[in-house]
Symmetry: C2
Subunit: 168 residues, 2 copies
Amino acid sequence: MRLNEAKSRFIQAWGTLGSKWGINRTMAQLHALLMVSPDAMSAEQMMEELNVSRGNVNMNIRELIDWGLVEKIHKPGDRKEYFRADKDIWKITKQVAKERKKRELEPIIKVLEQVSDVEGDKKDKNVKAFLESIQGIRRMANNADKTLDTMIKAEENWFFGGILKLFK
Amino acid sequence: MRLNEAKSRFIQAWGTLGSKWGINRTMAQLHALLMVSPDAMSAEQMMEELNVSRGNVNMNIRELIDWGLVEKIHKPGDRKEYFRADKDIWKITKQVAKERKKRELEPIIKVLEQVSDVEGDKKDKNVKAFLESIQGIRRMANNADKTLDTMIKAEENWFFGGILKLFK
DNA sequence: AATATCTTTCAATATATATTGAAAGTTCAA
DNA sequence: TTGAACTTTCAATATATATTGAAAGATATT
C-alpha cells in the first residue's frame, strides 16, 4: 500500500472510531492527521488534506488544543500558525483519560452522591432497588476514578510491561 | 430528595452521559430506568416513564438486548412482554467492554495492521513518522485488547485490587 | 375464522450536530 | 496608518441521527 492510501485509510478509520465515542469526526481526523505528520501543519494544509473548510479546521483544532492533544507552533519569520500533535500514544491516552474523567466521570459521581440521599421507607422495594443499584454504580465509579488517578500519574512502561505480568 | 425526583435525575444524567459516549439517549435512559426498577417493565410503562413513543422504546430495547444488557421476560398468564436489566454493575461493565471490543477495538486493529504495510522508502521522513505512529497505536490497541480479554473473565475485586496494587 | 391484544416496521418528521464561507477581527510590516 | 496576511466568528445551511405514530404483522383467545 502506498503512503497516501495508508494515511487516508487510517484517518478515515480514526474518524469513524471517534464518532462512535462521541467525538466530532473532523476533530478525530485532524488528530489522526497530525499524529502521523512529521511536521507541524498550517490550517491550509489541513483543509487541503481533509477537504474541509477553514472554519471547521479552526474550531476543531481549538477543541483539540482545549483537550490538550495539540499545540500551536510559531515558526520564526512566518506569520502563519502551525499545529502539532504529541505522538506518544501513552501520553495521549492519559490525556484523554484525564479530560474525560474531569468532564464526565466526576460530574456523574456528583449526581450519584446526590441521588443517594432518598427520603422515605427503606423497606419499600422501589426505594431499596434504587438505592442498591445506585450504590453499586457509585462503587464502580469511585473505583474507576481512583484507577484513572493512578493511571494518569503512571509511567509508560506500566501499560507496555507491568500489566501483562499481572494478567498472566 | 424523593424517590421519583432521584430516579428521574439519575435517568437524565445517565442519558446525558450516554450521549457523550456515542450511545443514543433513549437507549441509555431505558437502561437506567431498568437498572433501578425492582420489577421487569412493559413497553407501556417505559413509554410512560420516559415520555417516548412505542416505536422508540421498541427499537432501543431491541438494541439493549442486542448489547446483552436487557432480557425479555414472559409472565405466566400475560401476553405482554416485559423487560429487565441485570443490576450487577461489574457484569454490566464487562458486557459493555466485551461489545465495544468486538465492535470497535477489533476493527480498528485490523485497519492498523493493514496500513502498517507501506511500500516505499523507509528513510522518507513521512513514511517513517507514519509507521512509527501507527506502530505505537498498534501496541496500545493490542495491549488494550489483551487487558479487556482478561477483564471480561475477571472478578471485580481481583481486577481493581490487582490494578491498584500494581500502580502503587 | 373472526377478533382482540400485543409487537414490529418504517416513511415521514423533528431534532441535534456539523460544516460552510464570507465578513469581521487581529496583527504585523512597510 | 494603511493594507496585506492571517485568524476567528457565526448565521445560514447541510447532514446525520433520533423519534413518531399509524399501519402491518404476529399470536393467542373465543
